[in-house]
Amino acid sequence: MGRGGYLGEFEQMLLLTVLRLGEDAYGVRIMADLEERIGRRVARGSVYVTLDRLEEKGWIVSESVPSASDRGGRPRRVVRVTPKGVGELRKSREALLTLWDGLEHALDG
């Protein structure tokens, strides 16, 4: 996933979920939405570690928002996909589409 590489599967899933949620993307929402869409459980720990990594790479930015109720007085970390992150998504999508091109019939087997 380093220089010039492509997004990992889980990175891609997270970025897409964050993109879909828009303004309201923070831990609990991201995991709920992701679990609902892919229909399986995700480990909380992987989500946080991956979010940290995405932020280090500059593909997302986060902002600490003071908390509402029910969080033991702790802030939310609201994240947003950066233009650079969108660029990465586009690159990955194009690569995958190119690779898939003409192979759809293989799935019908």
Binding site: G45, S46, D52, R71, R74, P75
Partner: protein, 918 residues
């Protein structure tokens, strides 16, 4: 019982139900970076937890812990990786990093330890089982001790509470009479804010299908306020409920009774319960965890003390009688008042009462104060409870010691196997501290898992104990749930075991004197120190096992001796039912008619051989009654002008029903009526002591000051305890010395259990409202007397066997390890022509030498310990020869098996293979 329904309770009970599990949160906080990011993760977890908890709190807590661990592990790994990178680049290691570094090392060590432990599952299993059993035994017994002695009673500012007793020379801490209580209040106002008394009351409550006999308490208006107890629902009893006898039909339910009988009905307040036929309004419920003012006796319900006479159907008025001493007194010191001032006040009231009531306040009687915090149940009972608790904790402590010795022994063996690995690591510059920390982590994990297993074993064991149908003379309620104290105890014991017994092997195996280990190529070498330590452990284990088994043997022999004691009555199946003919509904004559009619109906039941009535059955640990005896020519004890002698009131059939032989004169007869000549029977010991010159029948003695003629002499029988020396005893006819309390004793050729129910049925058929206060078989009644010895023998015996088992495991391990290590030597011997049998003998012999040494030490130690036990033994000398002979033989046999079985394995050694492997 939903939690939201009782907010007041959540407030004062530091309820663990509010918010996510704290420990998990705290641990995770330690791992996460102390930034907004870390906080956001905790916030997310909190938010999701709350959402889940609304559906299922337990599941939510489980989920939280699992996720917290998952995040912690991933974050731990990640920060470590970053730091390693940072350190490589020469990043400054800040101050807070050192703490993170420790967490980091901990993670590494834990992972390393877990890997090593899972690689040798047999070792891990045995170590965890040994520790689990040892810690389980300790946790279980500590739970008992905690419930019986330590657990907080829930009083506010307990340091200002004082217990008030009436003491005499014989009975140092007795209960008060109500008039004495009133005088005490009056005379001590300057030091006490308030004084309260409570008494136990057997109460009959009407249920849908009959009546239920409950254990309740009558309390004064000050009771709850003085102890600082607030209602869980409604209100508790106050001054307004304590004005006039019979005028306050209100009741407060105990929390447990409310939960079990009324399914914690939230609308209970305002409802009515019928107690002895009269409706009582429920005004409130006590808070959870409050079990009354006397430890171990939790009342099902509380009524105003003004109602107790009516509820118990007493003939007299206990509120006005100075002779009726049933009230437990508690007082609260005024702010600033001292205990010494309180004692001075008590002395003043004592002096006044001695002057005013010389008949009841004899010169040796006085008010006795004790700080409530210093009293467990009652100072007279505490004298037995505390040593018993000490003994039990010593026994389980020894069991744990043996289990820990197993652990240490296995660790030493493993350490010996890893000598080379460790030597290499030390040689290439590993720090000893690091290695010791790694090895210790392993033992602490073992101890932790063992501790968790121990808690499971303890709860299961206690459940079994609670389910056992013990013939207790009264309902004892002990809250054996695992509270913080118990959990802290188990955690401390586990950690202590892990560190203490892991340290020696860890230090020994990392001894920096590495050269010999590297040089020494043979597997047989380097056994000196590790092996001798292990041998010492086996010797110690055997010695401790012998001590415990000797103790168990002595208790068993003592139990056996007590079982063979003849109480002197009740040898055949007999039903015992205690009835009260309430004084407000029965005149004396009506009560006598009732008793006679019931007796005749019971006598007509099939299989019944004989039926009699007695007011106070012998060998009842809760009830003794004495009469003042004066005999011409016999001097009373110094300081008194009478002899106190146990007595009972009986009808003319009782001696036959209980099978007590008459040795002289006549028995009680139907003609011994109120206006006839006052007569009495005495037993042989009475004659021996008070009428020694012979011709007892026909003599006159004074009972409670009145002249009474002795008309017959009975054989002696046990009165208060099975082990007692013969006691004098007096019987009076029921028509001359009436008592509304009566035990119906019915001897049968059939089943006593059935007859008990039949007697109750007959009693209720005659009067549906009759109070049945106790019902049991004679066998069960007598079993109470043996209960202490039986429990002692059972507990000590059980733990001693456990100790022997653990010691055998240790011995087995030591010998099988020796076999494995000496494979090469054995191989040489075998290939040089030694036969397998002699090699087995040699290996078994080395194990048995340790056993012999341990056994000898054990026997000496047991002889010393037995002297300490001598007070608890009955009918057995402390140096009981059979016990001291049998125990070493048993230990020897078990030990022989434990060393012979693994030694036999040498037969499977292939001599050539063993030699080539080097």
């Amino acid at each position: 019982m939903s939690r939201q329904a009782q907010p007041p309770e959540d407030e004062h009970r530091a309820d663990p139900g509010s918010g996510p599990p704290r420990l998990a949160t705290r641990l995770l906080e330690g791992v996460l970076p102390p930034t907004d990011r870390g906080a956001a993760i905790l916030g997310d977890l909190h938010e999701e937890f709350e959402a889940r908890a609304r559906k299922d709190e337990r599941a939510a807590r489980r989920w939280y812990v699992v996720e917290a661990i998952g995040i912690g592990v991933r974050y731990g790994r990640r920060t470590r990786r970053n730091r390693r990178g940072a350190a490589a680049l020469g990043a400054p290691q800040g101050h807070d990093r050192s703490w993170e570094g420790m967490v980091d090392t901990l993670f590494t060590n834990v992972r390393y330890a877990v890997r090593r432990l899972t690689r040798s599952p047999m070792f891990t299993l045995v170590a965890v089982l040994s520790l689990g059993i040892g810690i389980g035994a300790n946790t279980a017994m500590f739970s008992l001790v905690n419930a019986a002695i330590i657990r907080d009673m829930g009083f506010a500012e307990p340091e200002r509470l004082v217990d008030v007793y009436e003491g005499t020379d014989d009975f140092t801490h007795g209960t008060l009479s109500y008039p004495d209580y009133l005088d005490f209040v009056e005379g001590s106002r300057d030091v006490f804010e308030a004084v309260t008394v409570s008494r136990f009351a057997v109460v009959q409550a009407d249920t849908e299908d009959g009546v239920e006999t409950l254990f309740g308490a009558g309390v004064t208006g000050e009771f709850f306020d003085l102890l600082g107890i607030d209602a869980a629902r409604g209100r508790l009893l106050g001054e307004e409920d304590d004005v006039a006898p019979g005028a306050h039909p209100v009741v407060v339910l105990g929390h447990d009774y409310w939960s079990s009988r009324y399914a914690a009905d939230p609308d209970i307040v305002g409802r009515q319960v019928r107690l002895r036929g009269r409706p009582y309004a429920v005004i409130g419920v006590t808070p959870e965890g409050f079990t009354g003012s006397v430890r171990g006796f939790a009342p099902a319900l509380y009524v105003p003390v003004m109602m107790v006479d009516e509820l118990m159907g007493s003939t007299g008025n206990s509120l006005e009688s100075r002779g009726s001493q049933s009230y437990f007194g508690t007082a609260r010191l005024r702010d600033g008042a001292t205990f010494a001032q309180a004692e001075a006040a008590a002395e003043r009231v004592t002096a006044t009462l001695r002057e005013r009531h010389p008949r009841t306040w004899t010169p040796d009687k006085e008010f006795v104060l004790e700080r409530t915090e210093d009293v467990i149940m009652n100072p007279m009972i505490d004298r037995f409870v505390v040593p018993a608790a000490g003994m039990i904790m010593t026994v389980v402590g020894l069991v744990l010691l043996i289990a820990c010795a197993n652990l240490a022994s296995f660790l030493l063996a493993r350490a010996a196997d890893r000598r080379k690995e460790i030597a290499v690591r030390l040689a290439v510059g590993a720090r000893r501290r690091t290695l010791v920390a790694q090895l210790l982590t392993e033992t602490v994990i073992l101890a932790g898992v063992g501790g968790a297993l121990g808690i499971v074993i303890a709860t299961q064991g206690l459940d079994l104990l609670l389910a056992a149908d013990l013939p207790l003379p009264f309902p004892i309620t002990l809250d054996l749930s695992l509270d913080r104290t118990v959990l802290a105890f188990s955690a401390l014991v586990s950690l202590g075991a892990g560190v203490l017994f892991g340290l020696a092997p860890a230090l020994q195996s990392t001894n920096p004197d590495v050269a010999p280990a590297l040089r020494d190529e043979s597997a047989g070498g380097g056994r000196a120190r590790g092996a001798s330590l292990r041998n010492a452990l086996v010797v110690g284990q055997v010695a401790v096992s012998v001590v415990l088994l000797v103790g168990a043997g002595l208790f068993l022999r003592s139990l056996d001796a007590s079982r063979r004691l003849d109480p002197g009555f009740g040898g055949t199946p007999t039903a015992l039912v205690q009835l009260v003919t309430p004084g407000d509904r029965y005149t004396r004559e009506e009560a006598l008619v009732y008793q006679r009619t019931l007796r005749e109906r019971v006598a007509a039941l099939p299989g019944v051989q004989s039926v009699g009535v007695i007011d106070n059955i012998h060998l009842d640990p809760l009830n003794t009654q004495t009469v003042r005896v004066q005999v011409d020519g016999i001097d009373p004890p110094p300081g008194q002008d009478f002899h106190g002698v146990d007595y009972a009131v009986i009808d003319e059939h009782l001696l036959e029903a209980l099978d007590i032989p008459l040795v002289e004169g006549r028995g009680i007869e139907a003609l011994d009526v109120a206006d006839g000549e006052p007569v009495a029977l005495v037993n042989q010991e009475f004659v021996h002591r008070f009428l020694p010159e012979g011709g007892a029948v026909g003599r006159e003695v004074r009972l409670n000051g009145d002249p009474v003629r002795v008309v017959g002499v009975t054989a002696d029988h046990k009165v208060r305890g099975l082990g007692e020396a013969p006691r004098p005893f007096v019987y009076r006819p029921i028509r001359q010395s009436f008592s509304p309390y009566g035990w119906v004793a019915a001897r049968t050729g059939g089943e006593a259990e059935r007859l008990v129910l039949d007697v109750i049925a007959e009693a209720r058929a005659l009067d549906p409202d009759i109070m049945v206060t106790q019902a049991k078989t004679m066998r069960r009644h007598l079993a109470v007397m043996l209960l202490g010895r039986e429990l002692g023998a059972m507990v000590v015996g059980g733990f001693a066997l456990l100790a022997l088992l653990l010691a055998s495991i240790g011995l087995y391990g030591t010998v099988s390890y020796a076999v494995a290590r000496r494979a090469r030597e054995v191989g040489i011997r075998l290939s040089l022509g030694a036969d397998v049998g002699s090699v087995i003998r040699m290996l078994t012999g080395s194990g048995m030498r340790l056993v012999a040494t341990g056994g000898a030490i054990g026997v000496l130690a047991a002889a010393a310990a037995a002297q300490l036990l001598s007070r608890l033994l009955y009918g057995v000398p402390p140096l009981d020869l059979p016990t001291f002979l049998v125990v070493p033989v048993v230990v020897g046999l078990v030990a022989f098996m434990a060393s012979w079985v693994p030694a036999r394995r040498v037969a499977r050694i292939d001599p050539v293979g063993a030699l080539r492997s080097e």
